[in-house]
Amino acid sequence: MIPEIGQFALILALILAVCQGVLPLIGAHRNDAALMSVARTATFGQLFFVAISFACLTIAFLNDDFSVLYVANHSQLALPTPYKVSAVWSAHEGSLLMWILILAGWTAAVAKFSSGVPDRLIARVIGVLGLLSVGFLLFALLTSNPFDRLVPAAMDGADLNPLLQDPGLAIHPPLLYIGYVGFSVAFAFAIAAMISGDLDQNWARWTRPWTVVAWAFLTMGIALGSWWAYYELGWGGWWFWDPVENASFMPWLMGTALIHSLAVTERRGLFKSWTLLLAISAFSLSLLGTFLVRSGIIVSVHAFATDPTRGFFILAFLAIVVIGALVLYAWRAPGLDSAAGFSALSRETFLLLNNVLLVVATTLVLLGTLAPLIVEMLNGGKISIGPPWFEIAFLIPMIPLVLLLGVGMHTAWRQQNVGPWMKLLKFPAIAALLIGVILPLLFYGRVSLMLIVGCFAAAWIVITSLIQPVRSWRRKEGATAITRSALGMSIAHLGMGLFVIGVTIVSAFGVESDRAMRVGETLDVAGLEFELRDVRQVQGPNFTAIEGVVEIRRDGEFVANVRPQKRQYLVQKNWMTEAGIHPTWNKDLFVALGDQLGDGAWSVRIQYKPMIRFIWIGAFVMALGGFIAISGRRSRRTDK
């Protein structure tokens, strides 16, 4: 019964989405208030029914309803309850339903929190979002229905993929999707502006908070994904430039450019066509990501197992949305030029450079991701493009960007006089250079050019990000405090600096050691002693495992015990490595258990990962900066 309710609710949601998509757009065209007001009502209605549908699917999981095919494929009687809930979005159909729910949620948020925005604009924005909802709801109902029945019902399910039986699954996809889907709001604002032909500084001011929040969630989602892969997949890597990872990273890069471009449009009415194109790109890349992951067109351990029919549907949807948006763009963008100017040394120039470098970076990632497919379709055979290429290609635009980050922040709008500018930045530059050379030497004993560049860049960003907040903190009586916007910006940039430290240090000084060990033997890695004290069998709720106990010591002093496991889950029988990790603020000690070799020996992989936590801490600080930046918006007057 409950699955039927869930499906019926989804159909009702589709009907409401059609109303939400069509009527307000007509209303805005005719300036008909009644039709435009349908927008808000339809939105809340759609959200209500999608939520019911999602709840029904969740209940089916909690009730172990194996007469529902999706539940039978991804759950099991013995599966711990929290994982039964997260299993709802663990595969294609359920995660699609979650996407639809989040889209409805964002639309409702736009409907609720736009009191100061003109009715025609909001009607169009909600209308566009409604049309997007229609597309996804049709996709679900026609090709990917989570409520399909299994007849006869299974006695027990096929179990959730053991890799996903982890808290990471509970948090990573929702955060990621809130980000991905959130860019549809900026997209909708862009379409609305192109339809009406009005794109001004107010439009940018209304669009920016939505974009920043979506961006912040996407930042956290990607960071969590990276962290999860690190501790779950067992090989100690945190980014592999896998197509699916790239699919999440490209919208992030465009979103970052968009936030900065919106700042210029808001401030000076410039870069309007840039901003439009970036808003279109960010969401288009989200859709592209959905296509790559769910169509079966690429091979990836992250890809959903699905079939080409669904691929064609998503591709058709993607084509309609993107081509439609770009046609509007080609029509409207030429007329958007404004006559405002700026001098060579100005914030506008730096932000333009920022846009250019981020677009170059995104294009390169896209190129690397799609090139194997393109080459194959042009009958060039199969090639692979992996980290060796991506790492080099990505750094080429990124190094200048990261170095100029510190400068742009402190450059005035319109025209910056060179004197005060140099005066401000001279000392930080020297300090950063010193740190860049001394830090690696002092703590890790060596330097190289890349190391110096990386450490300098990190120190440079951290120092320059702190200038404004510290000044504000130490300001004299009566001087203005730093605005939330500027504080958010400083913190976000600071996060970037922390991220760069993490990446630089762990790439340069990380140590990895694969060795055969017997119980009782000790291995020296990176100045620490790792002793394999025991290997034994343990039992989990739905798995059995071989567990190693490894004691870590420094100069004979006890540091920690870690317990790496090799698990075999009862139903799927895959072997899974759970690494034993001892995290501290400035390093991770990572031990993974491999195969049993002859003679009582075991393969053991020991890794020393200095500063690796800063990668994810940096990302979260970036997201925090985003939230702080928009938290002060209430103080702004909203004018129509």
């Binding site: 690429i298 591709l315 084509a319 993107v322 770009l326 763009y329 080609a330 963008a333 030429p334 194959e376």
Partner: protein, 174 residues
């Protein structure tokens, strides 16, 4: 106006590539030896370690080389069809027993029948790698000169045989 059309043009170029991409299997790897001589090898046979199976055996007739193993489920599925082929004397089938255990392999052939003229025993897998094998079962079509004409990955059945092999064999026999 021109430069604002560029993004649209780029998208219009990419979409057909995606359409093509959806119609092909991303996990399938084409063989590097199509049109080239089969890689040189010499293996002890499965049945009798004293005898050898090598490239020489493949010359002089159109033949199949099937890469199989007892740990491969698909090999078990396709073997009855290979038996059919062998019994109908359509084409000689040779085999490379890849990374397997001799007694288990011999017992497999006893149970399901031996469809092969000869099976080379590739214990350490090096010959499999030389042939570019990436997943059993794989079936190679070899012509009279010992050149690789075609490779099929996956379990064979009558439909696939008629679709993929029969036309190619007919071409060779012209």
């Amino acid at each position: 106006m021109n430069r604002f059309l560029l993004p649209l043009v780029a998208v219009l170029i990419i979409i057909p590539i995606f359409i093509l991409g959806l119609q092909s299997d991303p996990s399938e790897l084409p063989s590097q030896y199509i049109g080239k001589p089969a890689p040189e090898f010499s293996l002890p046979t499965l049945a009798d370690p004293a005898k050898t199976f090598s490239n020489e055996d493949l010359k002089g007739q159109v033949s199949l080389v099937n890469i199989w193993a007892t740990w491969c489920g698909g090999c078990r599925t396709e073997h009855p069809f290979l038996m059919e082929l062998a019994r109908s004397n359509t084409i000689p089938i040779y085999a490379i027993n890849w990374r397997d255990n001799r007694p288990a392999a011999l017992s497999f052939l006893e149970q399901l029948g031996n469809a092969y003229v000869a099976s080379g025993f590739d214990e350490d897998g090096r010959v499999g790698i030389d042939w570019g094998a990436y997943g059993a079962p794989e079936t190679f079509l070899i012509n009279e000169e010992g050149t690789v004409v075609y490779r099929f990955t996956g379990p064979l059945n009558r439909t696939l045989w008629e679709q993929e092999f029969v036309p190619r064999i007919a071409e060779l026999k012209k």
